[in-house]
């Protein structure tokens, strides 16, 4: 799969992405993460309504090769969980930026977004 870095997204060094939709932030993992992990076989996500603090481990994503913790990129309440990827984690690999999203979180503190990086910066860190 080709590595993609959609320009409308924000990124973290830990390979999560954020799509900001008003007061809601959609969180997922990047195509680089998916490429490194290989076939994803399991994903554990929090319950809807749970309140996350930035940096909290909110779940894990697992491939045959490795299991990785997922960290909350921002603080806020979990508004929605993508149950489809829990049932079929291969969706994350097939479409990480679309149907493979993981969580929707309410944006509690917009200042936290300042610590994210742009598509260009993230690409630079990955590809050098």
């Amino acid at each position: 799969m080709a590595l993609e870095y959609p320009e409308d997204l924000k990124y973290l060094d830990s390979h999560e992405y954020l799509r900001i939709e008003g007061d809601t932030v959609v969180v997922g993992v990047t195509s680089y993460a998916v490429d490194q992990l290989g076939d994803i076989v399991f994903v554990a996500l929090p319950e809807q309504g749970e309140v996350l603090s930035r940096g909290d481990s909110f779940g894990s994503i697992e491939s045959v090769k490795a299991v990785e913790e997922l960290y909350a990129p921002i603080s806020g309440k979990v508004l929605a969980v993508n149950d489809k990827v829990v049932d079929d984690p291969t969706i994350i690999g097939a479409d990480p930026y679309g149907d493979g999203w993981l969580l929707k979180i309410s944006l509690a503190d917009a200042e936290e977004l300042e610590d994210t990086i742009s598509s260009e910066e993230y690409k630079e860190r990955i590809e050098g």
Binding site: D13, S14, H15, E16, V29, Y32, A33, Q36, L37, G38, D39, V41, F42, S60, I61, E62, V64, K65, V67, E68, E69, L70, Y71, P89, R125, I126, E127, G128
Partner: protein
């Protein structure tokens, strides 16, 4: 996530490289350190490679494995003292999977002995244990000429239901007549090839040892014939479905063949061999622990080192675990008290703080229909 964004090209290691290293690079393989070697872990992707071996044919560069040639007049008797199997039963052209064990019956390595004649043997051993095995063999063999062919021979495993069809295009010997664990030396692409009907995938296939020059040609020829190059990732899921042990992970010098559920390699009629007293005592009294195969009742993988528990108390440890493409359920191997080793026994595996039920099942997890 803790994935580090380091481009492959700047990773510098002091690991050894097989003669096919450049060929792997050309195919875009992802390389990883493995037992002191830089080896391909995947090319097109683990699932695709795994499926190719189960349904068509794949190939692995296993040139990192140790390759020894032994020659000497009194060799058979000396080898007999080093292994619990009865090598005297082998006819020339037959091979035996067995283990080297120490006086405590701890497993030094799992190896294959190939009988060319009672005076001429080939031994293929694990890459990471090559030096240790060589020292052990040299210390226990006298009047034997010992040649280490590890660096001047390429070893390629051709595995899958179409392996016979593909290899038959390149050799004149009738491969259909070569039984499991039989081998033959024959001409291949102008060089002399050692071809054994063995493998580490649970599928039909061959392991082919050839001089470097021939091996480079053979790799390209197999590619041209549509053989799918496969990495260590698929090798691990394939061998685990077949419940084959990985040395250093599922067994080591602290485990005996009986504990490792490899009792079938022991010939109890043999009067003496290194470690036999310990094995006979263990057989009489029963072992305290035993390696079992289990299936996890979830989609999570029980990985190497995870505790096996009962009512929250640790009772054992997972040695290998994966979620392999063919059977598509999480499986694994691990040690538990012998009293809890029967098929159908249920225990838990602690996966990141949670107790997840697992059930002991029959090994192998997968059995090929085409073998």
């Amino acid at each position: 996530m803790g994935i580090h964004p380091i481009p492959q090209r700047i990773i510098m290691t002091k690991n050894k490289r097989t003669p096919l290293f450049a060929a792997h690079g050309k195919l875009g393989a992802r390389m990883v350190p493995f037992g002191g070697w830089d080896m391909p872990v995947q090319y097109s992707g683990l699932s695709a490679e795994h499926s190719a071996v189960r349904t068509q044919v794949g190939m692995f560069d296993i040139s990192h494995m140790g390759k020894f040639r032994l020659e000497g007049t009194d060799i058979l008797e000396q080898l007999q003292s080093l292994v619990p199997s009865n090598l005297a039963k082998l006819e020339p052209g037959q091979a035996q999977y067995t283990v080297l064990i120490n006086p405590e019956a701890g497993i030094i390595d799992d190896v294959i002995f190939y009988c060319q004649s009672p005076e001429q043997w080939v031994v293929i051993v694990n890459g990471a244990t090559c030096t240790k095995d060589r020292l052990w063999l040299e210390a226990h063999l006298s009047g034997v000429s010992f040649t280490d062919d590890t660096d001047n021979q390429i070893l390629i495993a051709l595995q899958g239901p179409q392996a016979v069809e593909v290899l038959q295009k390149l050799v004149s010997v009738d491969l259909g007549r070569l039984g499991r664990f039989a081998f033959v030396t024959t001409e291949l692409l102008g060089g002399s090839a050692f071809i054994a009907r063995t493998g580490y995938t649970g599928e039909d296939g061959f392991e082919i040892m050839v001089p470097v020059e021939t091996g480079l040609k053979l790799w390209e020829t197999f590619l041209a014939l549509g053989v799918v190059p496969c990495g260590l990732g698929a090798r691990d899921t394939l061998r685990l479905e077949a419940a084959m042990h990985l040395y250093g992970q599922d067994m080591d010098e602290t485990t005996t063949p009986l504990e490792a559920s490899l009792g079938w390699v022991i010939d109890w009629q043999k009067p003496e061999f290194i470690g036999h007293e310990v094995l006979r005592a263990q057989k009489a009294a029963g072992t305290a622990k035993r390696l079992v195969g289990f299936e996890v009742q979830s989609r999570q993988i029980a990985r190497h080192g995870y505790p096996i528990t009962l009512a929250g108390e640790p009772i054992g440890v997972v040695t290998s675990g994966t979620l392999p493409p063919t059977i598509n359920r999480p499986i694994g191997l691990g040690y538990v008290p012998t009293a809890l080793s029967a098929v159908g026994t249920v225990f838990d595996i602690e996966i990141r703080g949670k107790q997840i039920p697992a059930i002991v099942v029959k090994r192998p997890f997968y059995r090929s229909l085409s073998k």
